[in-house]
């Protein structure tokens, strides 16, 4: 049946993607593992960070962009580690230069070093500046539907509420809020942060998310490449379950086999 099933592509800022799993590139053992895990995940959109170049590094030292070449993946530079709108905007402009004019970015402005919870005030300010400067902004935010609505109103091309704290693996702590955000949104909604295992990713998709973005759940699994494959299947399964529509929940049992014709006597 699924052989004949053709889902709509995920559309973000005029780009179309078949895979609804977006992945990060941090925390892997080495670039080989990064490349293998990303290939196994089937992801087409891959996020990375921008940092000062180590001066004095060897000329032949491998570069992340050799493992995830821009010709093959849609690269999504992020502003991870930024605590102010100013730093986030600066980072996005550097990323645009790094990728020869590429406009798609993941905006995240943090507010606390322990929780890495987003600072939505700075996030809103950065989004406004970036959008005016021509960026397509996928925005990491809290699971507050009012903030999500405001970010969409400013022109963000995807809203990405946290499932739970970055790197925590606690899954989706408030599925009801994620649902509220999905129901009101006119742009794609992706859960970003908090996914711990495959069932969390499936739940995000069953709620009606357009996609899921994760890093630690794959990179910190005992076997990252195997987990990357599991996440690919979980996102696909969750998506198909959402589209298929789950059965209603019942108070009492409802036998699957007919009563008629039983051999009881």
């Amino acid at each position: 049946m699924t052989d004949f099933f053709q889902d709509q592509p995920l559309r973000i800022a005029g780009r179309e993607f078949t895979s609804r799993l977006l992945v990060g590139t941090g925390k892997y053992r080495d670039f080989d593992e990064t490349g293998e895990a990303i290939a196994a995940s089937g992801a087409e959109v891959v996020t990375f960070a921008v940092r000062r170049t180590n001066l004095g590094q060897e000329a032949g030292e491998p570069n992340l962009l050799d493992v995830v070449p821009p010709e093959r993946y849609t690269l999504l530079p992020n502003t991870a580690g930024c605590y102010t709108a100013k730093d986030a905007v600066r980072t996005c402009r550097l990323a645009r230069e790094l990728l020869d004019g590429h406009s798609l970015v993941k905006l995240e402005v943090l507010g606390d070093e322990t929780t890495l919870y987003p600072n939505v005030v700075e996030t809103l300010a950065a989004a406004e500046t970036l959008i005016a400067d021509g960026f397509d902004v996928m925005v990491y935010t809290s699971d507050d539907p009012i903030v999500a609505r405001e970010l969409e109103r400013l022109g963000c091309c995807a809203i990405m509420p946290l499932g739970s704290l970055i790197g925590s693996g606690h899954g989706i702590q408030n599925p009801h809020n994620v649902r509220l955000i999905i129901e009101q949104a006119g742009v794609p909604v992706l859960v970003d942060a908090g996914i711990g295992t495959a069932s969390d990713a499936a739940l995000a998709m069953e709620l009606g998310c357009d996609g899921v973005l994760m890093n630690s759940a794959i990179a910190h699994a005992r076997q990252p490449v195997l987990m990357a494959g599991a996440m690919k299947k979980a996102v696909e399964a969750g998506r198909e379950a959402f589209l298929a529509g789950r059965m209603p929940r019942r108070q009492s049992a409802d036998p699957s086999s007919p009563f008629a014709g039983r051999i009881n006597g």
């Binding site: 990375f48 921008v50 000062r52 170049t53 992340l64 550097l94 790094l98 994760m214």
Partner: protein, 70 residues
């Protein structure tokens, strides 16, 4: 001549003074041809302008690249 390079004081080699271009700076750092982006005094300097942009005493230069992150 001294500049601030990636947040630290950096003395340029004598042969680069008095007014080296960004291309010359990157060559001296072994970064020519690498995938990097350059900012001088918080303004992006596009790759196409590296050869024509000259540095001055005290300029704050940032050279960044892509690294793993989520």
């Amino acid at each position: 001549m001294q500049i601030q390079l990636n947040g630290e004081a950096h003395t340029l080699a004598p042969e680069l003074t008095p007014a080296p271009t960004i291309t010359q700076l990157l060559e001296s750092l072994g970064l020519a041809g690498r995938r990097i982006a350059v900012e001088v005094n918080e303004e992006i300097v596009p790759r196409s302008e590296h050869a024509a942009t000259r540095l001055a005493e005290g300029d704050r230069v940032e050279v960044v690249h892509a690294i793993g992150g989520g």
